[in-house]
């Protein structure tokens, strides 16, 4: 594709042993996981156990991705991208192929998970995503190329993991890697400056994508109106409309704002569900039910007092009877 001729991305057959030129670590290729514009990712076996290994052709773009992975590994307390192990070169038939090694995330694609487990997971997983994004933003980074393909759901309890962090951009710079459907520039609803609201637009579009799995193209003009109609037209999306609208129009400055409102919305929904099912919650209903037991206790106390009073009365009579 580029003007300078480069080595084609060669398929590395299963069972191949890759040995790093600089660090001398060896990896045994188990299977191909996927390939993108910059290289191919393989599952490999090593002394560290199972790892994901990305082989590319252009050492500058591979290095650029590694720069981001290293930065993300430095964020304390939260697991953002896949954990980074090392970068090296592999020499094969006299040609050098740069590669890097990272944690293998054994997860399920976001939408596959939601289809299997139920639509109610969208809101919950978005809450997780927004929490992680707010950490990323605080560290001065913007995800950039946020889309379902870059998100995996792993383990139990199900946790959202980020797969491809190649588009991650320092705050204030321009986003270079993006996917049109999730890019606010494409919809004419903003620029491509890396700022939190850029990612939050993409989050909203991920939710829209859940409602419209086949996606759709932009209209000739007035995409705002067009997108609002799309939200109205889907039963799944309608309930999220106030939040989606604000995110699409760039009204949230921070991921935490959007997260709070989504949280409130999901909670409100749960209360509604409870009311409909007529199950006693924590509110007035509960208080009314406990009150009669208090009354009973009080009447029991009165009974005791009366009984004691009676006994005392008869005992007095008995004593008086003895005297006479």
């Amino acid at each position: 594709m580029t003007g300078t001729s480069k080595n084609p991305v060669a398929d590395v057959p299963r069972g191949t042993t890759i040995r790093g030129k600089w660090n001398k670590q060896t990896y045994q290729i188990m299977k191909k996981l996927g390939s993108g514009a910059l290289g191919t990712v393989y599952l490999a076996d090593s002394v560290k156990g199972r790892v994901a290994l990305k082989v590319g052709t252009d050492s500058m773009s591979i290095t650029s991705e590694v720069n981001v992975l290293k930065q993300l590994s430095m964020v304390q307390g939260t697991v953002l991208g896949p954990f980074f192990y090392e970068i090296d070169d592999w020499e094969r038939n006299g040609k050098k192929f740069p590669f890097y090694v990272m944690e293998y995330i054994d997860g399920e694609p976001l939408f596959t998970f939601i289809n299997r487990r139920g639509k109610e997971w969208i809101g919950i997983l978005m809450l997780q995503l927004l929490r992680d994004l707010s950490v990323l933003h605080r560290e001065g980074w913007v995800f950039g190329d946020l889309k379902p393909d870059n998100l995996l759901v792993e383990g139990s309890p199900p946790t959202m993991r980020w797969l491809d962090v190649g588009g991650t951009t320092p705050m204030g710079r321009s986003v270079k890697e993006f996917t049109e459907f999730f890019d606010r520039g494409y919809w004419g609803l903003g620029n491509r400056v890396a700022e939190p609201s850029y990612d939050l637009f993409s989050v909203a579009m991920i939710v829209l994508n859940a409602g419209y799995p086949k996606r759709f193209d932009r209209p000739k003009k007035d995409s705002e109106h067009y997108l609002m109609n799309k939200i109205e037209g889907s039963q799944l999306l309608r309930e999220y409309k106030p939040i989606l609208r604000k995110a699409l129009l760039g009204k949230y400055n921070y991921a935490s704002e959007m997260r709070q409102e989504l949280f409130a919305l999901l909670q409100g929904e749960q209360i509604n569900v409870r009311k409909n099912k007529n199950v006693a919650g924590h509110s007035r209903v509960a208080a009314r039910q406990t009150r009669p037991t208090v009354k009973k206790k009080r009447s029991g106390w009165i009974e005791t007092v009366l009984l004691v009073a009676f006994l005392l009365f008869f005992y007095t009579l008995y004593l008086v009877g003895h005297i006479f």
Binding site: M1, M60, D89, S174
Partner: protein
């Protein structure tokens, strides 16, 4: 530190040249002048790509990037090609610098991987902050007629991406063939690529494809711009020294 300016010619076409100078030679000339020539070939659905070897050759000799796309993907491609070409040019500078430090036969790959990270950071930094001039040259031969609305969208998209950078941008817009001449200027150098929706509907399409003369005109336009700036700079220096 003064960061210099990247100069690009972006050629959007759909076929072979059939009039005037050899475009591959003109691209080589542009490269000598310190410009990069990028070429995007816009295909119709089901169109075969074998007649488009010239596109690749122009980009190769112009030190740039070429890409063949269907009209639908044009927006994404135009901004991507422009940015990639910027990165490639900057990497070229850095490569030369490294050779002067490490020795003539050394490549970036000869650095240990950990050191490469710093080189990439410098490239990213320059790509974000350097000024950029793009001269856009649009093929308006008859077969391009129905693709022009898509070209318009793609250019707007390009300006969104470039304006999100920190560095300054300038654009000029030309069409070939023009109404009366082989090449026609649609828009002189401007920092904002706007009002193109008023220009595009007025474009008339013609039969010939004078790609070579178009590139020659682009080189001239850059030369004029540079000499104008030279005059301005001289004037400024005289003023400040008196």
């Amino acid at each position: 530190m003064k960061k210099g300016t990247l100069r690009q010619i972006l050629l959007i076409t759909d076929g072979c040249s059939n009039q005037g100078e050899d475009p591959v030679a003109m691209a080589a000339l542009a490269r000598e002048h310190g410009m990069t020539v990028n070429v995007i070939g816009v295909l119709d659905e089901n169109e075969r790509t074998d007649g488009l070897k010239e596109i690749e050759n122009i980009a190769l000799s112009g030190g740039g990037i070429h890409q063949l796309v269907y009209a639908k993907q044009l927006s994404h491609t135009v901004q991507m090609v422009t940015r990639k070409a910027m990165t490639q040019t900057i990497q070229g500078f850095i490569h030369k610098e490294l050779q002067s430090i490490l020795g003539h036969d050394k490549e970036i790959e000869d650095l240990p991987p950990d050191k490469r990270g710093q080189v990439v950071e410098v490239v990213d930094e320059l790509g974000e902050t350097m000024d950029l001039e793009v001269l856009i040259m649009i093929d308006t031969s008859a077969s391009m007629q129905h693709k022009l609305p898509t070209v318009e969208d793609a250019l707007l998209d390009l300006s969104i991406s470039l304006h999100s950078r920190i560095g300054e941008n300038e654009y000029a817009l030309y069409a070939f063939p023009g109404k009366r001449k082989q090449v026609e200027r649609l828009m002189d150098w401007t920092p904002i690529l706007k009002d193109i929706h008023t220009i595009f509907p007025k474009l008339t399409t013609g039969g010939i494809t004078p790609t070579g003369p178009a590139l020659k005109e682009a080189i001239d336009a850059y030369q004029k711009k540079r000499s104008k700036r030279g005059l301005l700079n001289d004037g400024y220096i005289e003023e400040s020294s008196s």
